[in-house]
C-alpha cells in the first residue's frame, strides 16, 4: 500500500487545489438533502455516512441532451452534444458506489455499440473514494462481492485515521494526480498498519451477511415461482429503489422541441418498476403488473446481469432498504429466494 498523509487542514488545501484546475464533485448538504454536486470550495463537502442520492448522477445524469437538431431550408442539421474533454474529480465516493460504476461500465461498454456519453465522462473521471469505517445495518456490500474498504473502481482511497487522513494510491491515474505534490508526506508503515486495522474492524462489523451462493442458478428455476406473487403485494410501484440505486442504469429517450424548427433528443433515467417501461404500441405489455416488474428487478440484478457480465448487479449500499416507502427490504427478498 502506498499513500500520502494529510492533516485535516492539508486535506482542505489539497481539495481546494484540485478545484483550481478541474471540476470537483463531492457530497454536499443542500437544505437537508445530501447529494453529489460540483463544489467551489472544500468547505462545502459534507461527509454523511452515505449521501441520499448516489454519485451515479454525475456520470450518468438524470437528464441529458444527446444531440440537437435544426431544420434549415428543408434540410436538417444535427449537432452532437460532446461530453467535454476535461478531467473531473469525484471526491468522497463510498467504495460501494465506486463498484457501481464498474458494473455500469460493463453494461455500457460491452457489445458492438458503446454508450459514448457515459464512457467519455467515465474516462475523464478520477474517483477519490472514502473508505467506509462504520457500515450500517442496511449495508451488505460484503455479501455481494464488495467491501467497505473496497478498492475496485477507485483511483485514490481516503482513510480517516482520526487526527489525520491517509490517501491511498490505488491506480496509475490516481498516482498521477498526486504525483506532483511533494509536500505531503508518504504514509509510514505505522499509518498503513492502522488502515489495515480499521479495515479489519469495519469488515468484521458488517452486521448484515447474506448467503447468496449460487443465487444465479437458484433464480434460473424461479421465474414462475409463486414467491413473486407474495412479495410484490406491498410494492407500490414507485421508482425509489431504482432511482437511488448506484447500479441501475435503465433509461428512456425522447425529443423535445425548442422551437418549431429546432429541438433536442434527451435521455432520462427510467425504471423497470414503471408500467410504461415495457408497454408496446399495440397495447401489449409483457410486464403488466407489479409482480413481473418486481421479478424483473430482482432477476436483472441477481440472474440476468450475472449471466451477461459475470457479476451481481447490486453493491449492497442499502439505499433501497432505507428509502422504500413501504419497507420492502431487498435483503428479505433475497433470503426468501435463497430458502426457497
Amino acid at each position: 500500500m502506498k499513500g500520502r498523509i494529510f492533516d485535516k487542514a492539508q486535506l482542505s488545501e489539497f481539495i481546494d487545489d484540485l478545484i483550481k484546475k478541474r471540476k470537483v464533485y463531492a457530497p454536499i448538504n443542500k437544505d437537508g438533502l445530501t447529494c453529489f454536486s460540483e463544489i467551489k470550495s472544500s468547505s462545502e463537502i459534507y461527509f454523511d455516512f452515505q449521501s441520499k442520492l448516489s454519485s451515479k448522477e454525475i456520470l450518468f445524469p438524470r437528464c441529458e441532451t444527446l444531440f440537437t437538431y435544426k431544420r434549415v431550408d428543408g434540410d436538417v442539421k444535427l449537432e452532437e452534444m460532446k461530453v467535454k474533454d476535461e478531467e473531473i474529480v469525484l471526491f468522497g465516493v463510498p467504495p460501494c458506489e465506486a463498484r457501481g460504476f464498474i458494473l455500469i461500465d460493463k453494461a455500457f461498454s460491452s457489445g458492438e455499440f458503446q454508450d459514448v456519453y457515459y464512457l467519455r465522462r467515465r474516462e475523464n473521471t478520477i474517483i477519490i473514494g472514502k473508505s467506509c469505517q462504520y457500515p450500517r445495518n442496511t449495508c451488505f456490500c460484503t455479501s455481494v462481492g464488495g467491501s467497505p474498504f473496497g478498492r475496485e473502481g477507485v483511483d485514490l482511497l481516503l482513510h480517516d485515521l482520526g487526527e489525520k487522513y491517509l490517501l491511498e494510491i490505488v491506480s496509475k491515474k490516481g498516482e498521477k494526480l498526486i504525483d506532483y505534490i511533494q509536500k505531503y508526506e508518504n504514509a509510514a508503515e505505522t499509518d498503513i498498519k492502522m488502515v489495515q486495522r480499521i479495515e479489519k474492524v469495519a469488515k468484521e462489523s458488517m452486521k448484515t451477511r447474506l448467503e447468496l451462493k449460487n443465487i444465479e442458478e437458484k433464480l434460473d428455476n424461479m421465474f414462475e415461482d409463486p414467491l413473486w406473487k407474495i412479495i410484490y403485494q406491498k410494492c407500490v410501484g414507485c421508482g425509489v429503489c431504482t432511482y437511488l440505486c448506484p447500479t441501475c442504469y435503465c433509461f428512456d429517450m425522447f425529443d423535445e422541441q425548442v422551437t418549431s424548427s429546432e429541438g433536442k433528443r434527451i435521455r432520462i433515467w427510467d425504471s423497470c418498476q414503471f408500467p410504461l417501461f415495457t408497454l408496446q404500441g399495440s397495447g401489449e405489455n409483457p410486464r403488466p403488473t407489479g409482480k413481473e416488474r418486481m421479478r424483473q428487478r430482482m432477476m436483472h440484478k441477481f440472474n440476468y446481469y450475472p449471466k451477461n457480465y459475470d457479476d451481481i448487479a447490486c453493491v449492497g449500499c442499502g439505499r433501497c432498504i432505507r428509502e422504500c416507502p413501504v419497507n420492502l427490504d431487498i435483503r428479505e427478498v433475497l433470503n426468501k429466494i435463497m430458502t426457497q
Partner: protein, 278 residues
Amino acid sequence: MLNPYLPNLTVIKKITQENDLNDIKTFKLAFKNSNKFRDFKYRCGQFAELSLFGVGECPIGIASSPSDNFLEFTVKKVGMVTTALHNCEEGEIIGVRGPYGNGWPIERLESHDIFILGGGFAFTTLRSLIKYILHEENREKFGKLCVIYGTRDPGELLYKYDLRTWATRDDIQVIPTIDRASNGWVGRVGFPNQIIKEVASDTENSLAIICGPPIMIRFTIPILVKLGFPPKNILTSLEMRMKCGIGKCGRCNIGNKFVCKDGPVFSYKELQNMPKEH
C-alpha cells in the same frame, strides 16, 4: 468511439400507400451521405430506429432486401412517431440509426426448403427475406420457397405489387389468404396455420418462419411442431418496446437476452428455454 445514438439523415424518396385503411405506408429512403449508406450493411430481418426530429424514435423492421440498392420501411400508424411519419411528405428528412438485431439466419436457411407464414402487418421483414431469396444471385442457394400470407381482408394485404410479380414465377409458391370470405376475393380463405397443413412437406429438413400477431404465433407453433418441423427450425421475430436498439436501455430483455441485440429473431427452441415474458 462512434456515437451509436446519432442518426443518419435520409430523404424520403417515395411513399407508397399499402392498404385500404391507409394506415400502412412504405417509405423508401435515400441516405443524404451515400458513404454512410455503404456502411449501413444490413441483413434480412434486422431493424432500424427511425427518427422523426422533435417527436422521437421507433424501431421498424427493414422491408427492403440487402440485394436492393435502397432502403425501405413499411410502417403502420400506431403511436406518436409513426403518426408523424405518416404525416410526412416525399422529400422530407428523417433519421435512421441501425441496422440492429440479428436478422434471419440466412446461412441456416440455405439449401433448405422454406415455409414462410405471415400474418397481417408483420409481413415486412418477411418480404425482405423473400426478395432476397428470389434475387437471381441467391435463388439457387435455397430450396423450395412457400409463402402463406394471411390478412383480415384483401385490402389489407401488403406489397400487392410484389405478390403479383411473385405469382408469375414458378420458383415460389405464394398463397395469399384472408380470414373471412369477401366479395370479389377468389383466393384462399382461412388462417395460415390451417393452410400450412396442406402444403408442408419434408418438414424435418425444412424451416418454418412465422411472423404475425402474438395470437397467431401462439396458435401456429404447436401446429408446426405437430407437422414435424424441429423446434430449432421454427423461427419467429419478436416484438418488444425498444428505445436504444443496442442493448443498453434495459427494457426489451427476455431473461438475459435482449430482443434488440440478441433478437429479434429467435427459434422456437430458444424461446422454449427463455422465460415466458413476451
